[in-house]
Symmetry: C2
Subunit: 218 residues, 2 copies
């Protein structure tokens, strides 16, 4: 039980006495061990014992820091999505300046963030089917991005840059979904996939034609 150690939602490591403690180091050690191991094996192939040993503690002690293996991944995912949010910034507020360049910037930054943590992204895709918490967190994050894109599409239509068409929300969902799946295939490298160096431009083209009916919107 311990304190509110589940994190994922706020700055982790809160709820204990102010300063740095040995416990914080251990928690971090578990996290970094997880991300390291994820670069070598599947999430399913990693046992709690692996995580514990990698962090220099015993298996029962692991449970002091995280309630389960999935909770570790959840924390990792939380960090990545925060990083992605920060990277995206407010590009969508400046679409009018140069639509194509701005949309490209958005997609490109997401690509860079996910690509930098592909092990975590792949692992999350792996457990999304079984783990409710990961599913919910991802749903929440995606919802935010969908709403941002939806608003941007509405704004582009209002200023006459984009023609009317599909409900903006549906279009935003479809485009975001496409990106997710295409990135997954590219990073996982199995099945038909777009080459990593082309993926941003491919996605961009489908976004632009979907929103503007042209790949060079004015």
């Amino acid at each position: 039980m311990a304190t509110a150690r589940t994190s994922a939602g706020a700055a982790p490591g809160r709820g204990r006495r102010a300063g740095r403690s040995a416990g914080d180091d251990r928690e971090l050690a578990i996290l970094t061990t997880a991300e390291r191991l994820l670069r070598q094996r599947t999430f399913a192939e990693i046992s709690i014992d692996d995580l514990a040993r990698g962090a220099g503690i015993s298996r029962p002690t692991f449970y002091f820091y995280f309630p389960s293996k999935d909770a570790v991944l959840l924390t990792l995912l939380d960090r990545v999505t925060e990083e992605a949010d920060a990277a995206a910034g407010d590009v969508l507020d400046h679409l009018a300046e140069d639509p194509r360049a701005r949309w490209r910037e958005l997609i490109s930054r997401f690509h860079a963030t996910f690509g930098g943590h592909r092990a975590v992204v792949l692992a999350c895709a792996e457990v999304r089917g079984t783990n409710v918490e990961v599913r919910r967190l991802w749903a929440r994050v995606l919802e935010r991005w969908v709403q941002a894109v939806e608003a941007a599409i509405v704004a582009e239509r209002r200023r006459g840059a984009a023609p009317p068409g599909l409900p903006a929300r549906d279009l935003a969902i479809a485009l975001n979904s496409m990106n997710e799946r295409v990135w997954y295939a590219t990073f996982a490298g199995d099945g038909p996939a777009v080459a990593e160096r082309d993926v941003v431009d491919v996605l961009l083209d489908v976004w632009l034609t979907g929103i503007y009916r042209t790949t060079s919107p004015g």
Copy 2:
């Protein structure tokens, strides 16, 4: 190890003496039990014992018919993709008659097939991360569809109906990927999703704009 009972790839139930035998019934019973249970719980929540009891046999006997729980799902997936292939038929050979109507027919038929077996589809998405065989089978199937769509795009460009643009294969990958992910969200019902009655039209519009730059190609 019994005979070549893994199936998934050819007509299942071959490799034993000609006529119907009790074993074929059992094998079928396992399959139908799996699809039934999948409508109620997650794949991970179903144990081999559940499958065996549902089929009226003991757990060790299950192993006589299938090497693992995943192999059952693989057989199920094989059937669904065969059904989808059959449903798709040769619509893509008649695009010139009425592009919008034909593309819509293609998407709509896939939608109907997957929607009719959403439990299996969802379960496959769940294990794709962990199971190599499911991953490979899905990759093979997807590759076929991608190639068919790629060829259709090339043909449409050649006859002047579609403008040049992205490499046809990359476009085909992106569009197929989008469909997969959007359907998944719609069927799973979690996270931002397109309403089931709208999903075909939403996907169609993105396909048409991506391929023709218009939603009403001539």
